[in-house]
């Protein structure tokens, strides 16, 4: 982990970039405060992993709240979860999984220096992310119509409920409080992800990345995988209990 080791391993990357105005020796994309490209890449990667750990703990608060209320009101959770649309949720799971795959492919092609391909894969990822939000929008709309809202605003309309469902127990509003928080916070992450991916896409089209320098693509994809991962837990917990 010492910088000596990395310095040795990547001495070959030095060479060009003399007199680029920043007064350091290395390619343009090497920030002034790093000695070697490897150091820059390692730092970015580590920083992102630490940030992702933080993200997991952020969501963990929601998971703990979920666990607590589920153990207190198992019947209520069962009945309430029955009201969620498994088809839409399932479709969204597939959409996100696929987008995670295309994000990984974008990294792969960026590593190989195939700029066009990278752009295409990024576009598909972004489209999938929008698709996810559209499906989510219809789901939310149905919940609003059915009055399946957080506790204070919870007022179910029987005619909008899933056919053949048992009467909803007391405190069902708490389930929807948790549902909207979990999916809402996840949704915000999707929106942020779209912003990040578009930015990466534009930089890729501008030709910022190359075989030697694909760190931002890699980092953005890592983030996107996390968004996907969280959903993979949310889906069974909320929809399939």
């Amino acid at each position: 982990m010492s910088s000596e080791a990395t310095a040795g391993a990547h001495a070959g990357d030095h060479g060009d970039g003399h007199g680029d105005g920043h007064g350091h020796h290395g390619p343009k994309w090497l920030a002034h405060h790093f000695d070697t490209p490897a150091q820059q890449f390692d730092a970015a990667k580590l920083g992102m992993w630490v940030f992702l750990a933080q993200e997991l703990l952020f969501f963990s608060g929601l998971f703990v709240a979920y666990g607590v209320y589920r153990s207190w009101y198992p019947e209520m959770f069962k009945a309430a979860s029955h009201q969620l649309d498994k088809i839409m949720g399932g479709t969204n799971t597939i959409v996100l999984l696929f987008s995670s795959f295309t994000a990984a492919m974008a990294v792969r092609s960026s590593q190989l220096g195939k700029q066009k391909e990278t752009g295409r894969y990024l576009l598909v990822t972004i489209l999938c992310a929008f698709g996810f939000l559209v499906i989510k929008y219809f789901e939310y709309q149905h919940k609003f119509e059915a009055g399946l809202l957080p506790s204070r605003y919870f007022h179910p309309h029987m005619d909008h409920l899933v056919a053949g469902s048992a009467p909803l127990p007391a405190n069902t509003g708490t389930f929807f409080g948790i549902y909207f928080m979990m999916t809402g916070v996840h949704g915000v992450h999707v929106i942020v992800g779209i912003g990040v991916l578009i930015w990466i896409y534009l930089r890729n089209q501008r030709g910022d990345f190359s075989k030697e320098f694909f760190t931002p693509v890699d980092i953005a994809a890592l983030y996107w995988h996390l968004v996907d991962l969280v959903w993979i837990y949310l889906f069974p917990l909320l929809y399939l209990v």
Binding site: H24, A31, H32, E55, P150, T174
Partner: protein
């Protein structure tokens, strides 16, 4: 210089490598800077303003309690005063104080790096801090909060405008302020972790890090792991108030104690976000002013990590009387005692370092010694509170108030002000006057003890905290405490005077005013933009007073109390002579 050799032809031919980082003028050059030192200075100014604001609130709270009944303000205003005092001190001052302000300036230099790993993120974290502070100010102008800094539900979450019976104050902007500032804290933590792992100069192994670096590294781990839990908790609280989620509000089927679990899962570790950096500062000061490698270096470093990890296991001691199961309370009580081990390890090692060290009692050292003294009292009284049976009596009394002030003020603020004096010459290039600086320390130390010892006594006799009024038998203690707060406040005014005077008319500081062997004192004062004139390569540790050369240690070293204390070595070299010719 023997220890710090250089790589030839390293970097930056464009700018004058010797130009100090303070050189560029103009507000914009500060606001868009990516230089960790400038960002640190802006943080430093911000947290000191926050400290002054929180201090004024504190003095008002104490003034109100000078006499029974109404002295100065009505009960509602009083509730807001102590809440704002707590919020400002915790979220705006103490959490960012040492890591984001001093750490930002010193950490990369101690690593021999040109900057932190992510300079842009660093600036972003400062902006986020300011953005959060704006929310806090907005809330204050809009009536403030009266929930206490803990925002306990259901009081905070149940809005009277919607038929609740809770607080009608502007809770939402204030919790959002804390939520936003949490992100600033997280980003700083991420940045520091990556910086410590990836930016160390060649030869700077983990065992050669300074203890300040170790402390910041441990703190960063807590920041990254605990803060997000607070963030989601505060978000849930905001939404509870806004949408009525039903998670924390019992009227809607929620559980307010769950909030307390979430809150303290952050806020107990947060105590270590506050105190561990102070411990790091103190370790460095003690080594420098004892002219000695810290005894048990690895033990001190490891105990920082130990505190960071144990800090996550003891949150339940805040809920002993909140209705946990008996078994849970017993387990949390037992775990709480474990925290004494790493804390004790540190205290014993500091004392052992002092033993047979060549101690010079200059002002940073005075702050460091009072840190040890006060933190020990704070820590030991913490054991009282961790003891299940005793806590049932002491819970939510002034004993608790005194305990946490001994830890937070006696610990962190001592570390902060000590560090401020220690690195002041490095930050500003100016020396301050030693005699009035010592006087400031004296008033703070004495005033602090008067204020809070009185609170220990009245707390143990049952005076509850957060009360607007009290029984006659407590009046004398409240009066002692209030007078103490004036002495304390006067001390800080002196310190402010000393620092401002130093800025206006201080003598230029030498490169190494204290004769320290650490890396930040080997670079010019104030440091150039890239920290070092040539990239450093380390061949010795940063506490190695044996291997450090005389030039490294004695350039500008001038100890008025104990000239030439290091056996056989020459006495002080004149400050000006050596300036500039090295490096």
């Amino acid at each position: 210089m023997a220890a710090i050799t250089t790589t030839p032809g390293a970097h930056h031919d464009a700018e004058d490598p010797n130009a100090s980082f303070l050189e560029k003028k103009g507000l914009m050059s500060w606001l868009v800077t990516l230089d960790h030192k400038r960002i640190g200075i802006m943080y430093l100014i911000s947290v000191m303003i926050a400290f002054a604001l929180g201090g004024i609130f504190a003095l008002l709270v104490r003034a109100e309690l000078l006499t029974q009944g109404k002295t100065l303000m009505d009960a509602d205003t009083y509730n807001k005063m102590f809440s704002l005092h707590g919020v400002v001190m915790v979220f705006l001052f103490i959490i960012p104080s040492i890591p984001a302000a001093m750490g930002n300036i010193i950490l990369p230099i101690q690593l021999g790096a040109k900057d932190v790993a992510f300079p842009r993120l660093n600036l972003l974290s400062l902006y986020i801090y300011w953005f959060g502070a704006c929310f806090g100010l907005y809330s204050m102008i809009n009536g403030g909060v009266d929930t206490g800094w803990t925002f306990y539900t259901p009081y905070s979450s149940s809005d009277p405008a919607l038929g609740g019976v809770g607080s009608s104050t502007s809770v939402i902007p204030m919790t959002l302020a804390a939520f936003i500032m949490g992100f600033s804290s997280i980003l700083t933590g991420v940045n520091f972790i990556a910086t410590v792992h990836k930016m160390r100069a060649p030869g700077l192994t983990w065992r050669r890090l300074t203890l300040f670096t170790w402390a910041l590294y441990s703190t960063s781990i807590i920041q990254v792991l605990a803060t997000p839990v607070l963030a989601i908790t505060l978000l849930l609280l905001t939404m509870e108030r806004f949408l009525g989620l039903g998670i924390f509000d019992p009227r809607l089927g929620g559980d307010p104690v769950l909030f307390q679990h979430f809150f303290w899962f952050y806020s107990h570790p947060a105590v270590y976000i506050m105190i561990v950096p102070g411990m790091g500062v103190v370790s460095d000061i003690i080594a420098t002013f004892s002219r000695r490698e810290p005894v048990g270096y690895m033990a001190i470093a490891a105990s920082s990590l130990g505190l960071a990890l144990l800090g996550f296991l003891v949150w339940g001691h805040h809920l002993f009387v909140a209705g946990m199961s008996e078994y849970a309370t017993m387990v949390f009580s037992a775990l709480t005692f474990l925290v004494a081990i790493p804390s004790g390890v540190k205290v014993f090692n500091w004392v052992a370092t002092l033993y047979k060290g060549s101690i010079s009692l200059q002002s940073p050292m005075l702050w460091a010694l009072s840190f040890i003294f006060l933190f020990t009292i704070g820590g030991l009284t913490g054991l009282f509170l961790g003891m299940l049976a005793v806590d049932v009596h002491l819970h939510d009394t002034y004993f608790v108030v005194a305990h946490f002030h001994y830890v937070m003020v006696g610990g962190t603020v001592m570390g902060f002000v000590g560090g401020l004096h220690y690195w002041w010459p490095k930050f500003t290039g100016k020396m301050y006057d030693e005699a009035p600086a010592k006087a400031g320390w004296f008033f703070v130390f004495v005033g602090f003890n008067i204020t809070f010892i009185a609170q220990f006594i009245m707390g143990s006799r049952g005076m509850p905290r957060r009360y607007y009024d009290y029984l006659p038998e407590y009046e004398i203690f409240h009066q002692i405490s209030t007078v103490g707060s004036w002495v304390l406040g006067f001390g800080f005014v002196i310190i402010l005077y000393v620092l401002v005077k130093s800025l206006m008319s201080g003598k230029p500081a030498p490169r190494n005013p204290w004769g320290s062997a650490a890396l930040e004192f080997q670079t010019p004062t104030p440091p150039p933009t890239f920290n070092f004139v040539k990239d450093p390569v380390l061949t010795r540790g940063q506490y190695d007073y044996q291997l450090a050369t005389e030039d490294e240690l004695y350039e500008g070293f001038d100890d008025p109390l104990f000239p030439g204390i290091r056996g056989g070595k020459p006495a002080a070299k004149p400050a000006a002579a050596a300036e500039g010719e090295k490096e």
